[in-house]
């Protein structure tokens, strides 16, 4: 379970990107985070895996308070959360297999388990046949699927994705949503910031709308609510 209490974030340049966020997300929920550009969606997401630290307020993920978590403990937090980035963030010198395996090597999993789990998730995202290829040899959609495979390979309880379909054509976006849906069906919480109106309005889930660092709307099975 994730909860934010009076979370406030002021960047060093004075911009306030979170202006008192209060939210609770239950285990197994699927949540869209929507809002205009500059609304504070990425900030909201980044604070959940401690790429950014709140200026004040508390953020709990399963009883760990991210606001006070020591830097040394951050790697251990990140192992419990799968993060999918808009720009994929794949390691360029590792091939597809190695990129996904990295998330398991970090937790010192045995090579046998690593091989099985990596091949399983590559199968799930439909990239088993491209395991030996390098990120530069893949299309954007394929890279995003590798990034998703890496985020789910150690079966985290929560997956956080910042515009995972932002760089993709509609068809690929739908394929990626299928993967997320599949993972969510297995009980994983999914929090996804997006500008994709079709997806939000078609695959109905809870919608949290952010504007000016504030949550202005929070409804189960809501609409995207903006013209895009």
């Amino acid at each position: 379970m994730i909860s934010m209490k009076n979370v406030y974030k002021k960047y060093p340049n004075g911009i306030v990107a979170a202006n008192g966020l209060n939210v609770e997300i239950m285990q197994g929920e699927f949540v869209y985070v929507v809002g205009p550009s500059g609304a504070g969606k990425s900030t909201f997401i980044k604070m959940m895996y401690r790429e950014e630290r709140p200026t004040s307020g508390d953020i709990f993920i399963n009883d760990i308070n991210l606001a006070t978590l020591k830097s040394k403990r951050v790697p251990y937090l990140r192992r419990q959360i799968g993060v999918v980035f808009q720009d994929f963030k794949l390691l360029p010198r590792l091939n597809v297999y190695e990129n996904v395996a990295f998330a398991l090597e970090v937790i010192e999993e045995s090579p046998k388990v690593i091989r099985k789990r990596v091949m399983d998730v590559l199968e799930l995202v439909g990239l088993k046949h491209k395991a030996r290829m390098f990120p530069t040899e893949l299309s954007g959609g394929e890279q995003q699927r590798v990034s998703i495979a890496r985020s789910i390979v150690n079966t985290p309880k929560v997956i956080i994705a910042d515009e995972p379909t932002g760089n993709l054509d509609p068809e690929t976006s739908w394929e990626i949503m299928k993967v997320f849906q599949e993972v969510n069906n297995r009980g994983t919480t999914i929090i996804m910031a997006t500008h994709n109106k079709e997806i939000v309005n078609t695959i109905k889930h809870r919608v949290i709308a952010v504007e000016g660092g504030l949550i202005v709307r929070d409804e189960a099975g809501g609409d995207y609510g903006y013209e895009s």
Partner: protein
């Protein structure tokens, strides 16, 4: 940072792979190490031999004390005792005037019209100071004793030799240190270029939950391999160079006061030094350059 053995194995594999996949950068870094170690190796070779020569010469600095012709046996025994009482004395050897003559004749190949009857030479004591640099002081004190005719030693020459050798040693040491610093700067710069290129990678690794040590160890291992690669050529060159030099020069030094360092253990020592320095430079370089980017 308790770590499973298989993770260490993983770090070894990663570091090998990384050297191979960045072959161009690895080559550049290893070359920087090679140039430095070659210079340092040749330098150490020269310095250690200079030291050896200096030591050999120091050991052989003798004072020759000539005895008055008028001195009888008793006076000579008394003089020997007096010399033995001078502080800082190491050895003393007595040589009668007959022995002196024999030595002289031997040196000139026996072609001298001198015989025991008209031996013009004096008996002598050969004296060494326990600290060769104090030879002059010792000689002056002996000169004050009764029944000495004169005291001979290298005088000015010895002083000059010692001050030259001391200077050479200090300059050599300074140069080696300067070289080392240059090398480290060069290498940490080379590695830094690699790391800047990898800065993004390090950030990604952290975002996926890697600890600092998990990221750092493969880089440090990579530094070790590059250090070892860079040390190969200097080791070969220094070895070949010294063996040739030794075989060329040593025959001329037989019977001289000084010698070069024998091939063993000298070559083992120098090569071990080169290897260790290579590893040290590699580790230091990668440690320093990763450090900056791990503070995220």
């Amino acid at each position: 940072m308790a770590m499973k053995a298989r993770t260490l194995g993983r770090h070894f594999r990663e570091s090998f792979k990384s050297v191979g996949r960045n072959s161009w950068m690895s080559f550049a870094s290893a070359s920087a190490v090679t140039v430095t170690l070659l210079l340092v190796g040749v330098f150490v070779m020269i310095m250690m031999n200079l030291n050896k020569v200096a030591d050999d010469l120091e050991k052989d600095v003798e004072v020759k004390v000539l005895v008055e012709l008028t001195a009888d046996e008793k006076m000579i025994t008394k003089l020997e005792q007096d010399i033995k009482n001078v502080k800082g004395l190491e050895t003393i050897v007595y040589s009668t005037k007959e022995e002196e003559l024999e030595d002289l004749i031997k040196d000139f190949g026996g072609k001298m019209g001198l015989s025991d009857q008209n031996n013009p030479l004096r008996a002598a004591f050969y004296v060494k100071a326990s600290n060769p640099q104090e030879t002059e002081k010792l000689a002056k004190q002996i000169d004050q004793l009764p029944n000495t005719y004169s005291v001979e030693y290298g005088e000015g020459k010895i002083d000059k030799l010692f001050s030259f050798l001391n200077l050479a040693r200090n300059i050599g040491l300074g140069l080696i240190l300067a070289l080392l610093f240059t090398a480290m700067f060069l290498i940490s710069n080379t590695i830094r270029i690699t790391i800047v290129a990898r800065r993004r990678e390090i950030e990604i690794m952290k975002l996926v939950g890697a600890t600092s040590w998990f990221i750092r160890i493969p880089f440090v291992l990579e530094g070790i391999w590059i250090g070892i690669l860079g040390a190969i050529l200097p080791i070969v060159i220094v070895t070949v160079l010294y063996i040739n030099l030794y075989e060329l020069v040593q025959p001329y030094l037989v019977g001289e006061l000084f010698n070069l360092l024998p091939l063993t253990p000298f070559l083992f020592q120098v090569n071990a030094l080169i290897l260790l320095m290579g590893i040290f430079i590699g580790v230091w370089g990668s440690f320093m350059s990763v450090r900056k980017f791990l503070r995220v």
